[in-house]
């Protein structure tokens, strides 16, 4: 086993692309526990990037670094550098609220606000200073999230009254409405049935025309269907016995699935893991 902390930055498959987020030597700690170690990884513009890997290897932790959601966990600490359009995300001059307006997030469990469907979308837009035609924006966002036909007659109903799959698409619509540059999705389909899952996947293909998407998923097929690039994470026992997560390899999706460089990646994508 190579020691990941001394491993040189993996050759970047993304060199020729327009880079939105640069991750340089990022480690994340919860108190004294190191959850993620020394990640180098660039996110290209208007692409879908998937994070895969066994449970507990720090995929969500890393994802939450990109919109500074880890700020909400008092014990969490991020070292290294994440650059967004040449600004350091963790620069003390940066207001985390501004970060989250540019880098939106869709969570594992659908979490619509206890408001009407219309307000769920309008609220985010208003918060972000949207001054245009609200009805139009709501319709456009719901259409983008493939939810318009199901909800156009009941926009005044509570968002909580929708089915789980519809709620998740509402959350996507809500995120689209604020026109972020990047959308982070943490296992967005884990609470959905196969049909809704397919619809969300279709959605991602359309959305990447306008947005950059990072998605965490446990579903290998999903990663291979939607992602342009895939990063495989794994966890390894550290000196003290606790396990830390690290990025094993990050390549174009075809090569991760068809010609992985590392044995552990091979094992994981072929289901022979553990």
């Amino acid at each position: 086993m190579t020691n990941p902390s001394t491993r040189p930055a993996a050759p970047q498959a993304t060199q020729s692309e327009d880079i939105v987020l640069r991750t340089e030597n990022v480690s994340v700690y919860y108190g004294a526990f190191e959850a993620v170690r020394n990640v180098y990884l660039d996110i290209p513009k208007n692409k879908v990037v998937a994070f895969i890997g066994p449970s507990g290897c720090g995929k969500s932790t890393l994802l939450r670094c990109y919109n500074r959601l880890n700020d909400l966990i008092p014990s969490a600490r991020v070292t290294g550098k994440i650059a967004y359009q040449n600004n350091d995300l963790y620069d003390p001059k940066v207001d985390p609220v501004e970060v989250r307006r540019r880098i939106g997030m869709v969570f594992q469990r659908p979490n619509p606000f206890p408001k009407s469907i219309y307000e769920n979308i309008a609220f985010g837009a208003r918060v972000n200073g949207y001054k245009g035609d609200m009805d139009e924006l709501v319709e456009r966002s719901l259409r983008s999230a493939a939810l318009w036909d199901e909800t156009k007659d009941k926009l005044k109903q509570s968002g909580l009254a929708l089915s789980g799959g519809q709620q998740q698409r509402l959350c996507i619509a809500r995120t689209i409405a604020i026109e972020p540059e990047v959308i982070l999705m943490d296992e967005p389909c884990s609470a959905l049935d196969p049909i809704s899952t397919l619809r969300v996947e279709d959605l991602m293909h359309e959305l990447k025309q306008r947005f950059t998407i990072i998605i965490v998923t446990h579903n290998m097929q999903q990663a291979s269907r939607v992602a342009d690039y895939t990063g495989f994470f794994n966890a390894e026992a550290a000196e003290g016995g606790s396990r830390f997560g690290y990025l094993v390899e990050y390549e174009k999706t075809e090569s991760v699935f068809n010609a992985p460089r590392e044995k552990s990646t091979q094992d994981y994508v072929s289901g022979r893991f553990g």
């Binding site: 967004y84 359009q85 040449n86 600004n87 995300l89 620069d91 001059k93 940066v94 207001d95 609220v97 501004e98 970060v99 307006r101 540019r102 837009a125 972000n128 200073g129 949207y130 245009g132 924006l137 604020i178 026109e179 540059e181 306008r210």
Partner: protein, 320 residues
């Protein structure tokens, strides 16, 4: 399309540095909540300070001797608190003697399925209603209903047991014993509600375990449920004690406001809060100070009892 709706042409740092009223409002809001949170502590200090500052002349003049003096003489400015302290404690303790067994009994009844839920729920509601009746109404009920009703019985007790010092005076219409009984009725709901909750929160495995071993319902209750709910029950008793100590209206209306200590429970007596309620209107100068001194003593007494209650109830929650 992307930036046509919400302008994001600035870099992150630019827009973070730019003045933004939304950010300012957010900051103000945060500090406002911090201020009110600190304010709760401040109010407590303020209460203590305002009592202290008015009580100060009396504290300086009478010092600790105030606690042990029985005089209350506005003419030559001699004041003490012993009869009131004694009355406060004695009335509360007698009230507990009646209310605790009764309250725990009712709690046991309400926590076990002696009755179908159809009857139990209204009973629980009734208990809550009992808690919501204002103390001045209890006081009035005491004056017009309870005292006239109970007096003949007390006279009987006096005739038969008059040789016992506790019952040695003929029952007067305003007296310690009836006050304590009305207090008991008032604190009953507190004891019932918390004891019932702690009985219900005993782990179901324990209950089933005991039943499974062939224990009868009552063996389960007395040997398993009540012991494991004990700290919750004691906590409820302490909270009720705190209420009884601080209760004003029922005592002011029923106890007779006699500034002396009498071994007989059938004689008029006084409590701190009743004393304050009765004397405050006419008091001035040092007498008012002395009343605030008494209030300070009451505050310390209830504070100690309530803190003990909290410690006990917290322990009960941890075990749970």
């Amino acid at each position: 399309m992307t930036s046509q709706t919400i302008a994001k042409s600035e870099t992150l740092i630019e827009s973070s540095q730019k003045f933004n009223p939304v950010r300012l409002v957010d900051q103000i809001f945060y500090w406002l909540t911090v201020a009110t949170a600190l304010g709760v502590g401040f109010i407590l200090l303020w209460i203590a300070w305002s009592l202290l500052s008015i009580a100060f002349p009396a504290i300086v003049k009478f010092n600790i001797g105030f606690l042990f003096s029985t005089s209350w003489n506005p003419v030559n400015d001699a004041f003490g608190a012993l009869p009131q302290i004694a009355g406060t404690i004695i009335s509360a303790i007698i009230a507990l003697l009646f209310a605790v067994p009764l309250g725990v009994g009712v709690a046991v009844f309400l926590s076990e399925n002696f009755l179908p839920t159809k009857v139990q729920t209204p009973l629980g509601l009734l208990v809550e209603l009992l808690a919501a009746v204002p103390s001045v109404v209890y006081g009035m009920w005491g004056i017009f209903v309870f005292v006239p009703f109970i007096l003949p019985f007390l006279q009987g007790i006096h005739r038969v047991f008059g040789w016992i010092p506790l019952f040695s005076t003929p029952p007067s219409t305003r007296q310690m014993f009836t006050t304590a009984m009305v207090l008991a009725i008032m604190i009953l709901p507190t004891i019932i509600a918390i004891s019932r909750d702690s009985l219900l929160s005993v782990a179901p495995e324990l209950r089933q375990g005991a039943y499974g071993l062939g224990a009868t319902r009552w063996e389960t209750l007395t040997r398993v449920l009540v012991p494991s709910a004990l700290s919750g029950i004691i906590g409820s008793v302490m909270l009720a004690l705190g209420r009884a100590l601080g209760e004003t209206m029922a005592a002011a209306m029923l106890i007779g406001n006699a500034n002396r200590i009498n071994i007989s429970l059938f004689a008029p007596a006084s409590t701190i809060s009743a004393m304050i309620a009765n004397q405050f209107g006419e008091a001035s100068g040092l007498q008012k100070s002395a009343l605030f001194y008494q209030a300070l003593i009451l505050m310390v007494m209830t504070l100690i009892v309530n803190m003990l209650a909290e410690v006990i109830v917290n322990r009960f929650q941890q075990v749970e």
